[in-house]
């Protein structure tokens, strides 16, 4: 017993924090990857997360298969990401880093309203798939299977991403492009295609996060804006452009939100920002960040 709270309830809350953290990590990793490579802060990342959830809703109706949706919806959203990169972000190369931020802010408005036109203003509910319904007994508490599944998918995706970046040639180019784009170009690599690929990948991850979040948090037009601000906090705390930073800070913020919701519900949204203020005072470049990227 801590503060008169049964330990099992506390453990459940820690687990919930892990799930929320997982969603934040999927978002922040994409945001950070895109930023690290092309110094673009994608404001529409949240809106594309929301689009992922809506696309999944429709695909579920069409395919009747959660597993197919889980693969198809991120691909659809990732394709939208490719189009955005090619036609909206590319013309802004060489302009101030503020400009892509402003542009994607406008895009975010357009996406949120378009979704309301297509799917209606009222939020939708998505049931977790039947295979993953119910709860599992972890020995000291019961926990919904679907949430465990979300944590597992997040972990799998992160391992896959790590293998992709560390063990493949494309991953090598991506890492090199983050360090020194000029040198990579001088060596004859077409970075434009790498940028396109990474943008699509990051947006696809946002879409996946949206698909996963739908059955837990519901599907509604404002869900993206709510999460994008938390994601900004995550990348500021973790250090923009740093993948380990995105992971550690994502889990940290997830736990902080979850535990504050438990002990002092009204403080949950505020505490996140206080944590950010403290990190800024102690380590202005974030936990894992290097100062200087696009500053």
């Amino acid at each position: 017993m801590i503060l008169d709270v049964p330990l099992s309830a506390l453990a459940a809350q820690v687990f919930t924090g892990l799930v929320l953290g997982g969603i934040l990590v999927l978002m922040a990793v994409g945001l950070s990857l895109i930023f690290g490579l092309m110094t673009v802060v994608n404001f529409s990342h949240g809106a594309l997360y929301m689009l992922g959830a809506y696309v999944a809703f429709t695909l579920l109706g069409v395919t009747k298969s959660f597993w197919l949706t889980l693969i198809l919806a991120p691909l659809v959203v990732g394709t939208v990401g490719l189009i955005i990169q090619r036609f909206l972000i590319r013309p802004l190369y060489g302009r101030s880093p503020d400009d892509p931020l402003l542009l994607t802010f406008g895009l975010s408005l357009v996406l949120v309203e378009s979704v309301k036109v297509v799917w209606g203003k009222v939020g939708l509910t998505v049931d977790p798939p039947r295979d993953l319904a119910g709860a599992v007994n972890l020995g000291f508490m019961n926990f919904p299977v679907y949430r465990l599944f979300v944590v597992a998918v997040t972990a799998l995706v992160l391992v896959g991403l790590w293998l992709f970046l560390e063990k493949t040639n494309v991953g090598l180019v991506i890492r090199a492009g983050t360090r020194d784009p000029l040198m990579v170009r001088a060596l004859g690599v077409d970075l434009g295609r790498i940028w396109l690929l990474v943008f699509g990948l990051g947006i696809g991850l946002a879409g996946l996060a949206g698909v996963l979040a739908g059955p837990m948090r519901g599907v509604y037009a404002e869900m993206g804006v709510e999460i994008i601000i938390e994601c900004f906090v995550v990348v500021v705390v973790g250090g923009m452009g740093s993948l380990p930073g995105a992971i550690v800070a994502g889990l940290l913020i997830g736990e902080i939100v979850s535990l504050t919701t438990f002990f002092a519900p009204k403080m949950a949204e505020i505490v996140v920002f206080l944590v950010m203020a403290i990190v800024l005072l102690v380590r202005p470049s974030g936990l894992f960040g290097e100062a200087g990227l696009a500053e």
Binding site: T39, V41, L88, P91, L92, R95, P97, D98, D99, L101, L102, L103, F105, G106, L107, S108, L109, V110, V112, E113, S114, K116, V117, V225, I229, F232, V233, V235, V236, M240, K266, E269, I270, F273, L274, M276, A277, L280, L281, P284, S285, A294, E295
Partner: protein
């Protein structure tokens, strides 16, 4: 043709006089006075934002914070503290906005560039959630209601500003003073350093200027103007909706300033007018008008980054030959 161009140049080089003349006739050419007042207050808000973004070159995505603090400060002073003087209440609103600007500036200016944008956004959202949850004081989700609009104490007499036109005149005087103050700031050596920082912060630092401190002062000035705009809106509506602090308000001022032309003197007002007219006309015709606004905004970022007024000015002075490479831009 030449006379016309000379006229535009005169307008651009005498911004305060031009704006005062324009807003003196403005309420008689728009459909209703409250729209005119809104253009004044939102223009003032955008003007404060423009001082920071357009002239100092730092993008804040959280100007709703100072606008909201000005509005809540003024509203709470009148509705809860029962302050009888409008001037006193506005003063409290401005004080709140300045304190907010000082605190946020201290934290947010620890990072530059897009980090700064994200941090200001986060700070504003924090205030939004605080206002949302402190429902006993702020009214929470319902907004702060019941703000009494007392007669305005003026040189020993008191004047009622309840009628829309009287309120317009009141706002017109305050906004004119603010515009004159901004002009004074920009024309001072301090204003020159702001623009030097926008063009090249490293060089400004190498010239011996304390770049961070100057940015901080610019930030607080900007918060002051935004706070004044918030205070005026609180009095105009006699309500402070909690959305005043929401990120969408910050987004609106960004859109207005960029539509009009960041870094130009008239840009914020041109942008506020365009945005509010679009909003008023479109929202009646189509339910999904924000899509149109968003698309227009994206078009401007992509193809017309100077905005309406900035592009217009560039077009007017396009062939003013012969031009030295370092020719000062009008305004």
């Amino acid at each position: 043709m030449r006379a016309w161009r000379a006229f535009v140049r005169w307008v651009a080089t005498h911004p305060v006089t031009s704006l005062v003349v324009f807003f003196a006739v403005f309420p008689f050419i728009v459909p209703h006075t409250s729209l005119a007042t809104q253009v004044l207050t939102y223009g003032l808000f955008a003007l404060g934002f423009n001082l920071l973004y357009g002239y100092t070159g730092i993008l804040s995505f959280g100007h709703a914070a100072y606008y909201g603090l000005g509005a809540y400060g003024t509203g709470l002073a009148l509705a809860k503290l029962k302050i009888a003087s409008l001037w006193g209440a506005i003063g409290i609103g401005l004080g709140a906005a300045i304190i907010g600007g000082v605190i946020a500036g201290f934290f947010c200016l620890r990072r530059r560039g897009i980090y700064f944008a994200m941090l200001t956004l986060a700070f504003a959202q924090m205030l939004y959630f605080i206002a949302f949850h402190l429902a006993d004081i702020t009214g929470g989700d319902d907004g702060l209601r019941g703000i009494p609009l007392h007669p305005l104490g003026l040189f020993g007499t008191s004047v009622s500003i309840r009628s829309p036109f009287a309120f317009y005149v009141f706002a017109f005087v305050l906004v004119s003073l603010a515009v004159a103050a901004l002009k004074r700031i920009l024309d001072s050596p301090f204003g020159a350093v702001l623009q030097a920082i926008r063009e090249n912060p490293e060089r400004a630092a190498a010239c011996g200027y304390d770049v961070n401190r100057i940015k901080f002062v610019s930030f607080v000035f900007s918060a002051f103007f935004a706070g004044l705009a918030g205070a005026l809106e609180a009095l105009r509506l006699t309500v402070v909706p909690v959305e005043a602090l929401y990120w969408s308000t910050s987004g609106q001022v960004v859109i207005m300033t960029l539509l009009g032309g960041a870094g130009t003197f008239f840009g914020p007002f041109v942008g506020a007018l365009t945005f509010l007219l679009l909003e008023e006309r479109l929202s009646r015709l189509i339910e999904w008008w924000p899509i149109v606004v968003g698309a227009i905004f994206m078009t401007f970022v992509l193809f017309l980054p100077k905005g309406i007024w900035g592009s217009f000015l560039a077009w007017v002075v396009r062939d003013a030959s012969p031009k030295p490479p370092y020719a000062p831009v009008p305004e």
